[in-house]
Symmetry: D2
Subunit: 166 residues, 4 copies
Amino acid sequence: MTIKIFTMGGTIDKIYFDDLSTYEVGEPQVAEILREARVHLDCEVEEVIRKDSLHMTEKDRLLLRRRIEANPRRRVLVTHGTDTMVETARYLENLGDKVIVLTGSLTPARFKKSDAPFNVGCAIGALQALEPGVYIAMSGRVLPADKVAKNREAGRFEEAPGTTER
Amino acid sequence: MTIKIFTMGGTIDKIYFDDLSTYEVGEPQVAEILREARVHLDCEVEEVIRKDSLHMTEKDRLLLRRRIEANPRRRVLVTHGTDTMVETARYLENLGDKVIVLTGSLTPARFKKSDAPFNVGCAIGALQALEPGVYIAMSGRVLPADKVAKNREAGRFEEAPGTTER
Amino acid sequence: MTIKIFTMGGTIDKIYFDDLSTYEVGEPQVAEILREARVHLDCEVEEVIRKDSLHMTEKDRLLLRRRIEANPRRRVLVTHGTDTMVETARYLENLGDKVIVLTGSLTPARFKKSDAPFNVGCAIGALQALEPGVYIAMSGRVLPADKVAKNREAGRFEEAPGTTER
Amino acid sequence: MTIKIFTMGGTIDKIYFDDLSTYEVGEPQVAEILREARVHLDCEVEEVIRKDSLHMTEKDRLLLRRRIEANPRRRVLVTHGTDTMVETARYLENLGDKVIVLTGSLTPARFKKSDAPFNVGCAIGALQALEPGVYIAMSGRVLPADKVAKNREAGRFEEAPGTTER
């Protein structure tokens, strides 16, 4: 089984230079996370864009959709900023028999305490068991793109109001 | 959705005292991992035993099986030492509609570089999507108990010889 | 022996909220660093200000100088942002028999890889052995305030041009 | 200024393989600690032995003493196990104008929470300011070899009974 990974930037990849610099999006961290977790899956990592998700445009989302469509792999992981992860997930619906899981982190992967390794693990675990569709794996939940929302105040992803839990 | 977590000890929970002490199994680390990952799932953690898995006996496995059977939750996570994880997994088969995932780590969770947060994430992600059965989530793979083996030399879990990949 | 610690903010204390927030100066990290290092010295920690050192004014430096002067302890550690650490150090000269060491970090203490614990250790070690005066402990060097400069391009503190090494 | 570093093994360098292995002394960690702290001092690292300090013999101590004597550097750091660090320190007395500081850690450097980076920093900071002699830098204290003891129950180094604090 081969998993295709597309990276879009976001908090998970943020770095820190020094007092004079702003806090920027750096190299994708997913490969380092997989190495540290001693993962023995075939994973192909490809950087699409390197942006804070607040600055993501429809053009960026279209680019991602086309890359997924053009790629032969059925199981796709996308690392992405959290603020517009739900919008991007919905933008990726109806891609045939693809299983697509989006994840990211609320705290940069380079921090001592980060949700990044757990979240990537959660996405990879779900990806191997889910039916075709688009999902978000955050806060320990794996939810379909049309049933998930970010609760910014609480700092978590949860079921969107109006949807019912399985 | 509520996930029931049983802890059995193993490398994931190992601690270090000092030069004079041996390296021992300490408090279950799974709750700390879930906290650091900012997980918002209902998880009930229960310690069953605290042992290096090499010292696990059939009695210990029977105890675990009975606890799972007696518990009303359908989705069950077991943290366990790696050396006999496969034996324990097979011992837990045929428990009706339960979805049981075993995980652990090759390096203690208290180390800077550990596979523990990723592995627990992987197990939690898979648990929400899998059909009833018993599985092991290690090395980034989620494999049925009857199709997985630990390759000790390579330091990983992989498909057991004679089984074919999906 | 009691060591008095004044905290001024800076990179060492920086935290990260989320994509929408800026990167801010948080709680002083020095107490956590001392705890993790299992330090058994009497240390009294007092927060003076919580600022990026680029925004520090002469008023802030005067406040720090007066706090040091008013405090009975002879050995003083100051945690501070790196960009104007040298200016502050020079502002603290001629305070009688006080031994004052400034330190901070190039990477926030909350990162997995940070110079913060080493730097605080270096300052505490030097503080116990130095003659009265004002010093900076950064990049593994302990240098008098009038002989040190930040080399921003190289990302380190070094002897100021025109001074000769012991 | 050049600092000569001799490594002797001990808890600071301990690694963990897996359930079947014992907990062993691995590669010296001091170079990695200096790199992570972005130290810009000339440091020459040389491994002498790789032992748990409980197994250190007089022959090992004589070897270390001869290496220090034969080396032209005046400032010497020794990383060492904690259980017999005091014995080794006393064995290194009367080496002319050498400044020798021993350090190590109570928790392996590879752990998330370890006293190792702070302790090495403390030793390096003290080394630049101390008068000739042999010292131990542990628990945040820098104490002469003849005035320090390990309090194993409390898990710290402190002034030996019968000595008075400066």
